[in-house]
């Protein structure tokens, strides 16, 4: 197993550095393009959620750990901000005409669609979001 970790301030300015971290992981692991895209998009959305909502009143930190097995990625995003369970958010209605479309909930919807497991846990004031992506290597 290979492990990658980063800790940074949970603020909008950190988004590029987290995105570059994810890109380095993708390159280091030589992930298939579609797997790399699932990882980068799901983490971009998850991190954006934390930096936007976890710490509304004071600065805070977030930690991202990615563990890589031959055909599985497990990414754990942790923060000590407000409790928020993204897995309980409703799926947006995507079939209504543009004038009735809501703009919320799309990021979480994308995470659900891009991952094989998407779980949330809160223990002792710590939010943990787990994202798992699996794939099969070509024989």
């Amino acid at each position: 197993m290979k492990r990658f970790a980063i800790e940074t301030d949970a603020r909008l300015e950190s988004l590029p550095s987290i995105a570059e971290f994810t890109e380095r992981v993708i390159m280091d692991l030589k992930l298939p393009p579609e797997v790399g895209h699932k990882l980068s998009l799901s983490l971009d959305e998850a991190v954006n959620n934390v930096v936007s909502y976890a710490y509304p009143d004071q600065p805070g930190k977030m930690q991202l750990v990615i563990e890589a097995e031959p055909e599985e990625l497990r990414a754990m995003l942790t923060d000590q901000g407000l409790a928020f369970d993204p897995t309980q958010q409703p799926t947006p209605d995507l079939d209504v005409p543009i004038e009735e479309r809501k703009i919320g909930g799309l990021g979480i919807h994308l995470i659900r669609k891009m991952t094989d497991e998407f779980k949330y846990n809160r223990t002792d004031g710590v939010n943990q979001m787990l994202i798992v992506i699996r794939w099969r290597n070509a024989p």
Binding site: D44, N48, S52, L106, H109
Partner: protein, 119 residues
């Protein structure tokens, strides 16, 4: 990777073409810039806007929100938005969020202009 959002416009054959010059469209503040930019174009009378995403390799839901917001305004003003040169992984984002059912996509700028261009 640049954190500055740059969008360049060009008018051709009666169509306003918007080029996204930033490969990673991931930041909410960049999305706000795009939303304002598209609103300004619509307010100034652009009736057909073609968004060229040829340089974009990463796009998140905050930009999908911009495209929905612009689409609502376009509908009010009887204007139209189109997309071209969208990489398959970016097209997936449009499909998953249901925007593929709302907007028309073209393989490239030439095929888009041949269909929607003309004064």
């Amino acid at each position: 990777m640049s954190t500055t959002a740059t969008f360049i416009d060009e008018n051709r054959e009666g169509v306003t073409i918007v080029y996204a010059m930033t490969p990673w469209l991931i930041e909410p503040r960049m999305a706000d810039v795009l939303t304002r930019h598209l609103n300004d174009l619509l307010d100034s009378g652009s009736g057909r806007i073609l968004i060229n995403l040829t340089d974009v390799s990463r796009l998140t839901s905050v930009f999908i929100r911009s495209f929905i917001t612009a689409g609502k305004k376009a509908k009010e003003l009887d204007a139209q938005l189109f997309f071209c040169s969208v990489a398959p992984v970016i097209r997936d984002v449009f499909t998953i969020t249901g925007l593929d059912k709302i907007y028309k996509f073209y393989a490239d700028e030439r095929s888009a202009l041949s269909e929607i261009g003309g004064e």
